[in-house]
Point group: C2
Chain length 261, copies 2
């Protein structure tokens, strides 16, 4: 196999743009996952792997996974270490990355068990929070995550890495109209808006029964007015010490924990 030695190579430039630009990811319906663990998750979960890229020196260390990825990927490229380092989103790259097709939204929607336990996210902006929320949702057995379309890009490197592979395992669905989604959910389930308002019901007093959906809002501004109004009920997590709020990923995780246990 020829080794790519120039950062001006067309494929390298294409991948670099996919890593950096959310707009480009949307246009191409592709995203990049990096590192042995994430590539392994892509394989395990039957993701469509367009390109495999590995660095010269990674081959000896990660021979097995590189071989298995090569079998699955449409195209495979070996690049000089310095090219990989320049491309990589991490400080100490492992030398393996894949370009993966984004999951078809409709198909992903169909995998969500609508009679289960859902989490909806309204305008979550921090990719670290979004990654952590997906990771928690996966670990806590949530049926699916609904994202308003103004959430940060679920396919950004920070989100996928923070999700620890949950991006591949967790059914999620991006909706342009979260209030309408909730209204339709209310026909057979109960929806809760998580608010910072002690006039709402304390979460410890709520008896969650599926189908159930809880909404977590934006880090600074909480849930938007229309989304709160679409929900059947409001709940809050009691807090001490005049703390204004919990981190959004922590609040989401406590709610998922209470919904799922």
């Amino acid at each position: 196999m020829e080794i790519i030695k120039s950062k001006d190579n067309k494929t390298i430039k294409y991948i670099s743009k996919l890593i950096k630009s959310s707009k480009f990811r949307k246009e191409e319906n592709s995203f990049v996952v990096e590192g042995v663990r994430m590539c392994e998750e892509a394989l395990k979960n039957n993701a469509v792997i367009e390109y495999l890229v590995y660095s010269v020196s990674s081959f000896d260390k990660h021979t097995d996974i590189i071989k298995r990825l090569t079998d699955k990927a449409f195209s495979t490229y070996c690049v000089e270490d310095r090219i990989f380092c320049a491309l990589s989103d991490t400080k100490t790259p492992q030398g393996v990355l894949c370009v993966v097709k984004t999951l078809d939204k409709q198909a992903h929607f169909d995998t969500i068990k609508k009679n289960g336990i859902l989490l909806a996210l309204d305008n979550i902006q921090d990719p670290t929070n979004l990654g952590t929320i997906l990771r928690s949702a996966d670990a806590l057995g949530i049926s699916g995550v609904i994202l308003s379309s103004d959430c940060c890009d679920v396919y950004s490197p920070k989100v996928t890495r923070g999700s620890m592979g949950a991006i591949f395992r967790m059914p999620f669905y991006i909706t342009k109209d979260l209030p309408a989604f909730i209204a339709s959910f209310n026909e057979h389930g109960t929806s809760y808006a998580c608010v910072l308002d002690d006039a709402a019901t304390k979460i410890s007093e709520v008896k969650f029964t599926a189908p159930v959906l809880s909404v977590i809002g934006n880090e600074g501004n909480g849930i938007s007015f229309d989304v709160i109004n679409a929900c059947n009920k409001k709940l809050y997590i009691p807090m001490y010490n005049n703390a204004e709020s919990l981190n959004a990923a922590v609040a989401a995780s406590i709610i998922m924990w209470e919904m799922s246990k």
Copy 2:
């Protein structure tokens, strides 16, 4: 007041070093908090403010807090905007920062209610996690947080910012010998090691009664052998989907939630 116009100014260099170097913070027993909110917390919680630094253009926007901080700070410096930007740890600085004395460890230890609900952290490495854990501990009414001395620096800008001011409100104590601390705690309370081992007791089956302490371990390796052995009991958070673990801040928050409710 004279306006500092050079980044080679002695005070500017001193503060820059405090922001960047954990070692220097330890030597000086001082740290830096930035932004209106954090400086307000320093004031509210009677922190010892050595220096106040604000940028020329921030004065009109934040006159009130700058005046109140000036009253409290030993020295106040006004600096050109570009100097503040170069100094700042954030992308869009508000133009206000304080150099604050670290909290005296023994005095802080004395503020911890040893008969309450404690969280111990064994070698937590990610400053974002540590900041979030302090924020959650504060919001969930935890009595105190014990840190092993190999945790990341609690006075780093990422931790203090992530704590949303909890660094000032939350009693915490750094110990060189966490197993000994736990052994001494066991004389009047019950200690739990949070492990990834489903042979341990499920957290939902534990009835927490104060004095109680739970330990959360390192992001990659969990709790060290000596610390697990020092604890009375082991508990685990049940997980689905073969997820290997929750994020450390999420796991800590779920445990604090269960201990405190």
